[in-house]
């Protein structure tokens, strides 16, 4: 009885669970050994799998590390392509030699501080927009100003900056410009398309359906080819549209069709009662859409939206086929130097790493945003 009392007294003081819940799990489940046993060797099939995977790792990881690290050639005094060819490891000296070409393409060497600033500026703008407290109308103004600064830096021709035609743009800034401009324009367009597809107005609806099905039904390469080769045929002689702009338009057309379907999925998930409640309060169509329906629809479509964003970011590398020097094409260009021919593994790994950083950040940010937006009103 006394024991009992003391346990209860203890429990209330320390606020811990009742004695019944405080029974310790069996020793087997505890400790690293217990974990290994429970997760890796809990039956014969899993045991075989574990051993197989360990064997594979033994076979793959040491050679990979040898190539990546131990036998690799780092840039330094007297390191040439010959040094690289002599060693069996990765030639990071090649990346050191060519990173300016890979990152900035054919942009004039002395002026490459400009695309560096552009990349930093775009990353800064994206970073700023990640903060929900800044989701205010002035953010649009900041973006507009940022766009002007980016254009000024890239083209130049004023403020004492030498003019650089956009045929010389390339590398990471081009990839970022194509992706960011593409998504910034395609996203609102896709919202309109998604709303249009659900519209009661027959003409609007059929236009949107036709557009979406048509664009979605052809490969991106086709859209890019059409934008670059066929589109000029329809223009009157003498009128030309810049190749970069044509590619950008092609990308926007393509992305908006895909995004529209993602957003339509979100719109369909909003219960009818939300529309009715908004209607019964006298909200107009655009108030209802902007204040009630879209915020909910976009928040539930974050995973597929970001999926499409990431896909689109990487798809911009297809502009290689119409002769634009984005990050991917520039890295291929770096390989054409006879002295450094053959170091494609290093080149592609470097580019893949850059793509990965951006995509991984998008993915992580979207997960964080999802939690933020769903906090509070989760049922």
């Amino acid at each position: 009885m006394a024991d009992n009392l003391s346990i209860q007294g203890h429990a209330t003081v320390s606020d811990s669970p009742s004695p019944a819940e405080m029974v310790k799990p069996p020793a087997l489940a505890l400790g690293p050994l217990g974990w290994v046993r429970a997760n890796l060797f809990n039956n014969w099939f899993n045991s075989i799998l574990t051993i197989l995977i360990l064997w594979l790792a033994y076979k793959v990881i040491p050679p990979l590390l040898d190539w990546l690290v131990f036998n690799s050639v780092l840039p330094g005094e007297g390191v040439t392509n010959q040094t690289c060819r002599a060693s069996g490891g990765a030639c990071w000296a090649f990346i050191h030699e060519k990173y300016r070409l890979i990152l900035f393409g054919l942009y004039p060497y002395e002026e490459q501080w400009r695309p560096i600033l552009v990349v930093l500026l775009i990353i800064g703008l994206l970073g700023l927009s990640c903060n929900r407290n800044f989701w205010r109308p002035w953010l649009l103004g900041v973006w507009a100003a940022g766009g002007i600064v980016v254009a000024t830096l890239m083209w130049g021709g004023i403020l004492g900056l030498p003019f650089v035609p956009n045929t010389l743009w390339g590398g990471l800034p081009l990839t970022l410009i194509l992706s960011v401009v593409g998504l910034v324009v395609a996203f609102p367009l896709s919202i309109m398309l998604a709303l249009g597809r659900r519209s009661d107005l027959p003409i609007v609806k059929s236009l949107c359906v036709t557009y979406i099905e048509l664009i979605r039904g052809v490969p991106l390469i086709t859209v890019l080819f059409m934008a670059s080769v066929m589109f000029p045929l329809f223009l009157p002689t003498g009128v030309t549209i810049d190749k970069l702009l044509r590619a950008q338009i092609g990308l926007i057309l393509f992305a908006s069709a895909y995004l529209a379907e993602v957003i339509r999925g979100g719109l369909q998930a909003i219960p009818k009662g939300q529309y009715e409640a908004a209607d019964s309060l006298g909200l107009s169509y655009w108030q209802k859409t902007g204040k009630i329906i879209l915020p909910q629809a976009l928040s539930i479509t974050i995973p597929p939206l970001v999926n499409t964003f990431i896909g689109f970011f990487k798809d911009t590398s297809l502009v290689i086929i119409i002769g634009l020097f984005d990050l991917m094409s520039a890295s291929k260009a770096a390989l054409t130097d006879p002295a450094w021919r053959g170091f494609y593994k290093e080149s592609y790994m470097f580019v893949a790493f850059i793509y990965f950083i951006f995509c991984f950040f998008m993915s992580k940010y979207s997960q964080w945003l999802e939690v933020q937006l769903h906090r509070g009103h989760k049922r």
Binding site: E276, A277, L281, G282, G376
Partner: protein, 258 residues
């Protein structure tokens, strides 16, 4: 209890708030409303009951044009409901509606739910809208929940927020579409109390409900609908004690039996 309520409440005047004449509606081939004639006076409190599928929800949803009627005429506060969007907006601004499933906006706080329409539809300054919202949230006795999200509230609390949200638009008429049907029994009373309070202040109300106690207490008139028609209407005492038609008697025996 019912007597005191009746004496406190203003008697409905002669002024007509809602007038339905020969209203018909079809869902496809199905004839939901078969020539409804109904005139609601300002300050009048009407309870509509009837078996499911009788068209009672459809009827009140026609009054703020959530459903479109295909024949006949509906005039709300002097404005006829036609395809004219201006008229529809005008009617919706002045007619509040409370739904069976609350339909609160889950991504907005309770306070934002209440201020949204006054700010955007009535163009009211935010501070004033919040002040009014708090007044009505106090009235439905949940001012302390103002900054929570609907998902954090119980059903009864959500329905009271929904009522407050409607009241923030200072409606001339309130429509209730089975407001307590989705609630757990212990929460029905808190919602009905709010509705009784509203009735006592002279709000014009049309309420689709099976809460016969509520009908006895606050209604001026009880309407029984079946198969798209108004079968019988009367003062609550007469309606419950002396139903005329066989269908009404059958319905009442079923609903009052348990």
């Amino acid at each position: 209890m019912s007597d005191t309520n009746r004496t406190v409440a203003p008697r409905p005047g002669d002024e007509v708030a809602i007038e339905l004449s020969d209203v018909h509606k079809w869902y496809g081939e199905f004839h939901v409303l078969k020539g409804i004639n109904l005139s609601v006076a300002r300050g009048e409190r009407i309870v509509i009951c009837g078996p499911s599928g009788s068209g009672k929800s459809t009827l009140i949803r026609c009054i703020n044009r959530l459903e479109e009627h295909q024949r006949g005429k509906i005039v709300v506060d002097g404005v006829e409901l036609t395809n004219n969007l201006k008229n529809i907006d005008a009617v919706r601004r002045d007619v509040g509606m409370v739904f069976q499933h609350f339909n609160l906006f889950p991504h907005l706080t309770v306070l934002e739910n209440c201020t949204l329409a006054p700010i955007w539809v009535r163009k009211m300054p935010k501070a004033q809208a919040e002040e009014i919202a708090m007044k009505y949230l106090k009235r439905v006795r949940i001012p302390d929940q103002a900054n929570k999200y609907p998902g954090q509230l119980s059903g009864g609390q959500q329905q009271r927020v929904a009522i407050a949200r409607s009241l923030c638009m200072s409606p001339k008429v309130m429509l209730f579409d089975e407001p307590t049907s989705a609630l757990d029994p212990e929460m029905i009373k808190e919602v009905l109390d709010v509705m009784i309070g509203l009735a006592n202040e002279g709000m014009t109300m049309i309420c689709v409900t099976h809460e016969m106690g509520f009908a006895r207490t606050v209604a001026n008139r009880v309407i029984f609908m079946d198969r798209g028609e108004i079968v019988e209407q009367n003062e609550p005492l007469e309606f419950f004690n002396n139903p005329q038609s066989e269908r009404t008697k059958l319905f009442l025996s079923q609903i009052l039996a348990h």
